[in-house]
């Protein structure tokens, strides 16, 4: 499942969505808003999405992960709207029988969401400027 939220991401609530008695492994990734990018001091972010297509594409990515990897449950939640430094921007959680598949599926979902889901990041800088961020596939 893939969701968008304007509220602070609640990782405890999201973890419950993938928790199950079959799984012995849980892999989770949180993307946090950092206070710098390309040498500039970042004070805040604003994420904009095409809501309908973001949810559709995100759900397809999670569904593909469930087909491609030996996992039990997966969920990805992306924050939209105004975020402060330190806020969680994206949460990916995967449960599986064993850790290998959980780690691999978690990374797959994250990479695909960053590349394909129509969400865009606008950064606000300490000097008062702002700028749309280009796709970033750094590890």
């Amino acid at each position: 499942m893939f969701t968008l939220t304007e509220q602070k991401i609640d990782h405890n609530m999201l973890t419950e969505k993938v928790k199950n008695k079959r799984s012995g492994a849980f892999a989770c990734f949180e993307g946090w808003v950092r206070n710098h990018n390309h040498g500039k001091s970042v004070t805040a972010l604003h994420y904009e999405a095409h809501d309908k297509l973001a949810v559709e594409v995100g759900a397809q990515i999670v569904a593909q992960a469930l087909k491609n990897f030996d996992i039990n449950h997966a969920h990805c939640c992306h924050r939209v709207g105004a975020l402060a430094v330190g806020d969680v921007a994206i949460w990916v959680g995967v449960s599986a029988d064993h850790r290998g598949a959980a780690f691999a599926a978690c990374e797959y979902i994250l990479n695909q969401v960053k590349a394909e889901v129509p969400i865009w990041k606008n950064e606000y800088y300490e000097n008062g400027e702002s700028g749309w961020v280009e796709a970033n596939h750094c590890c």
Binding site: G31, H78, I90, V117, I119, W120
Partner: protein
């Protein structure tokens, strides 16, 4: 025809508005996009941009009419 165009992400900055009504003789997303680029003296980035019609992904060559809402999505930069 007059067609409504929705712009997302940095394309709002490139083309100056979130939404605009565009007068055109063109009838497909590619030609309309190129008209916008020419009008705003902006580089053609159609290799990276995805067109949508009525909130659904479409081909650049899909035939449009005035009832459609055309949109252009820049490359994703979430996460």
């Amino acid at each position: 025809m007059k067609i409504t165009i929705e712009l997302y992400g940095r394309l709002k900055q490139t083309f100056g508005k979130d939404t605009l009504v565009w007068q055109t003789e063109a009838d497909n997303p590619k030609d309309i996009y190129l008209e916008l680029c020419k009008h705003h003296q902006s580089a053609d980035e159609s290799n990276f941009i995805k067109p949508i019609i009525d909130d659904t992904f479409c081909d650049w060559t899909t035939t449009l009419d005035e009832t459609h809402v055309l949109g252009f999505l820049p490359p994703a930069s979430g996460g």
